[in-house]
């Protein structure tokens, strides 16, 4: 059976993220207007579906990885679980002691936090083995293009939703979009320099 390539994985994750963005733009604003509880629950949980699909994709990716990739996934997931778990404990205790005011919406950030720490940890582990941030960096799409694309999508969403989004959300989308595009540009420059050094 052919391995689940980085390219296939990235393509499917991009589709899931596009669906998630669509849900957040089109469907999520309806949650506040609906009064019946079952429908409210249903609408509130629709954005979770593409995220569950991403988790399934990750599980498949890890299952079909080779031994070194699995080792890197394991270390990355272990470190991210430890960091997010410790942060949750600290936040929870401070909240119970009324030192920090946290509401339930903070739970939305647990999964993105896990993924961010996992990506960072795996990148560090991959560097130790002389690899890039991604196991098959030469097989998938250009990373800088993906970052620029993701940043562009966020900026487009901010522009399209400028009439309905509040200042905080607009600012977050614009900041994240610009940050991702800047990261993409930095990766592009780094790649060009690396290629120039190696004479490619």
């Amino acid at each position: 059976m052919p391995r689940f390539s980085q390219k296939q994985y990235e393509g499917r994750v991009l589709v899931a993220m596009a669906l998630y963005t669509l849900c957040m733009l089109v469907e999520w604003p309806l949650v506040r207007t609906v009064v019946t509880l079952p429908l409210k629950c249903l609408l509130a949980l629709v954005p979770v579906l593409p995220m569950i699909y991403v988790i399934v994709l990750m599980a498949r990716r890890i299952r079909e990885s080779d031994e070194l990739e699995r080792q890197m996934h394991l270390i990355g997931l272990g470190i991210s679980t430890a960091v997010v778990g410790a942060a949750s404990l600290i936040g929870g205790f401070l909240s119970v002691a009324n030192v920090l005011k946290l509401d339930g919406s903070i739970l939305i950030w647990v999964f993105p936090g896990l993924m961010f720490c996992y990506g960072l940890a795996r990148w560090q582990v991959a560097r130790r083995y002389g690899m890039g941030a991604f196991c098959e960096s030469d097989a998938g799409a250009s990373k800088y293009a993906l970052f620029v694309l993701a940043g562009g999508v966020l900026l487009l969403v901010a522009w399209l939703g400028r009439a309905t989004l509040d200042g905080v959300r607009s600012g977050f989308l614009c900041g994240a979009g610009a940050g991702l595009m800047a990261l993409g540009a930095a990766l592009f420059v780094a790649q060009r320099r690396r290629r120039a050094r190696s004479g490619e």
Partner: protein
């Protein structure tokens, strides 16, 4: 652990990607093994030995202490 994989691969004219495909691992894993940054598991080491038609101890040589 030192190994002769790079030399054996070069003798056969295979690229890292071609060897990786035959062993069902990623090209980066082959690179990490060749550069000594990663020691393969016993099943993968046997697979490599079988592919090159050599005993495992001829390919993988422990570093002297």
């Amino acid at each position: 652990m030192n190994n002769l994989i790079r030399e054996l691969r070069a003798e056969r004219g295979w690229s890292q990607a071609e060897l990786a495909q035959q062993l069902d691992v990623s090209r980066q894993t082959i690179n990490a093994i060749e550069t000594g940054k990663y020691d393969p598991s016993l099943p993968l080491a046997f697979k490599i030995a079988r592919l090159f038609g050599m005993p495992i101890e001829m390919i993988f040589v422990p570093e002297e202490e």
